[in-house]
């Protein structure tokens, strides 16, 4: 465990343009941007496919095939074709984040109890009202689960960006490997795990606040 003291105890690792706070901010920045873009694409598509029931097979197939896209390959390919930059690093991360969000949103909306939908239509709600007022709130826990899984994967995988010379926590890992400085590598990995755990905790809070009490069964009876 001496690597912990070696890495986190060294004040040089905390200061300057290559210090832990800067790398952490870079990493979190990539990840938040990638997750936001992926959600912007995947949530509406998932809602639409799940609500209309059209294209569900296409959604599951594409999502599964997209899971197979190797992040490292996509990263170096986009970098070669488009040049080094922050934008290209987003392409593989968004591709990584879309499948879990898309599949969970689609399945969540589709899986809503048909009796509930009959009741909603019976009360005179129209299609889009049923989607927004009934299906989405009921499916919200699954949608958030998809977002959480995507976020964790993105946080863990964004380390690869350092291979093509970009910043983020992967720098510690890749540079540590190159110089055989294992404390640095392990320190970088520890920071990634801590960030992922913080993301998990944040999602737990969001779920607590955003999911209706009736859906999460925190109130009963009535």
């Amino acid at each position: 465990m001496s690597w912990l003291a070696d890495f986190f105890g060294d004040p040089a690792n905390w200061a300057g343009p290559y210090g832990i706070p800067v790398r952490l901010a870079e990493h979190a920045g990539f990840c938040a941007l990638a997750l936001g873009l992926a959600a912007l694409v995947a949530v509406p598509l998932g809602l639409l496919a799940g609500h209309t029931g059209r294209g569900v097979h296409l959604v599951t197939f594409t999502a599964n095939a997209a899971r197979a896209l190797p992040t490292l390959g996509l990263l170096v390919l986009v970098m070669l074709l488009a040049g080094v930059g922050t934008l290209p690093v987003l392409v593989p991360l968004v591709a990584l984040a879309v499948p879990p969000i898309l599949v969970n949103t689609c399945e969540g909306v589709r899986g809503v109890d048909p009796d509930l939908l009959d009741a909603a239509y019976g009360m005179g709600l129209r299609g889009h009202q049923v989607l927004l007022r009934v299906r989405t709130p009921v499916a919200l826990p699954l949608i958030l689960l998809g977002l959480r899984l995507a976020a964790i994967q993105v946080v863990a995988t964004a380390t690869v960006a350092a291979y093509v010379g970009l910043g983020g926590l992967g720098r510690f890992i890749i540079d540590g490997l190159a110089t055989r400085d294992y404390p640095q590598t392990l320190g970088g990995a520890t920071l990634v795990v801590l960030l992922a755990l913080a993301v998990q905790a944040a999602f737990a809070v969001v779920e607590r606040v955003a999911v209706s009490k009736g859906v999460s069964r925190r109130v009963r009876g009535g």
Binding site: A68, L69, P70, L72, V76, L177, Y182, G188, A189, V192
Partner: protein, 225 residues
């Protein structure tokens, strides 16, 4: 990349066929073995978790942490133990990821067995072991298989990160392409990884059909009705 460089040089692919084939085989082995090992470990762990419910919360917490570990860092941590450019250095971390996906799948699968089915098996005098093997596990197959599909497809593509420590199957093509600023090997690698994953996924779907003949009977009955 030079401006006159074509996106794909077919002659390069032709000259390197045998090397590409070796990497493909390597990628297949390193992608599929972890799912197999993961399943072998996930079954007893999942059984224990669904039997003693107190276990599930800490176990799933631990697996969530494993899931958050960057694969690259895991590979590096193992180098002193298993050696650089060894298959085991890649297979062990990927087995941990497969486990993180498969344990919840096994637990959910066993939970999907309706209570009345369990009671019926008990009333027919099944011993707990026979009930598990002949009734509960077969009913859990679709849910477990869904987890296996995710683990297999992402496992096959995660292997390529191993290229950064010298053993990544088709990922080796990504490193070559990046170092030479040459897109052909990268494109070949990406396409083959996706094809391999889709093929493995298709085989799992087929296996699922063969393992759950009653589902097909039910589907056909549903269509007829």
């Amino acid at each position: 990349m030079r401006p006159d460089e074509p996106l794909i040089r077919w002659d390069w692919i032709g000259r390197n066929r045998s090397m590409i084939w070796e990497l493909l085989v390597d990628n297949t082995v390193m992608g599929l073995l972890p799912v197999l090992f993961g399943l072998l470990l996930a079954l007893p762990i999942g059984l224990a978790c669904s039997r003693w419910r107190v276990l599930y919360q800490p176990a799933s917490g631990l697996l969530n942490v494993v899931y958050a570990l960057p694969s690259l860092a895991l590979f590096i941590v193992l180098i002193p133990v298993t050696g650089l450019a060894e298959r085991a250095t890649v297979i062990i971390p990927l087995t941990c990821y497969a486990l993180a996906v498969l344990v919840p799948a096994v637990v959910d699968g066993l939970r999907s067995v309706p209570d009345h089915v369990r009671q019926a098996a008990e009333a027919m005098g099944f011993t707990p072991l026979r009930r598990l093997v002949q009734v509960e596990l077969p009913i859990a197959v679709p849910v477990v298989l869904a987890g296996m599909r995710v683990a297999t497809v992402s496992g096959i593509s995660l292997v390529s990160v191993g290229a950064l420590i010298g053993r990544g199957g088709l990922g080796g093509l990504f490193v070559t392409g990046w170092q030479l600023r040459f897109p052909t090997p990268i494109i070949v690698g990406v396409v083959l990884v996706v094809l391999l994953a889709v093929a493995a996924d298709g085989l799992l779907v087929l296996a699922g059909r063969l393992l759950t003949p009653w589902a097909r009977a039910r589907r056909e009955a549903g269509e007829a009705a």
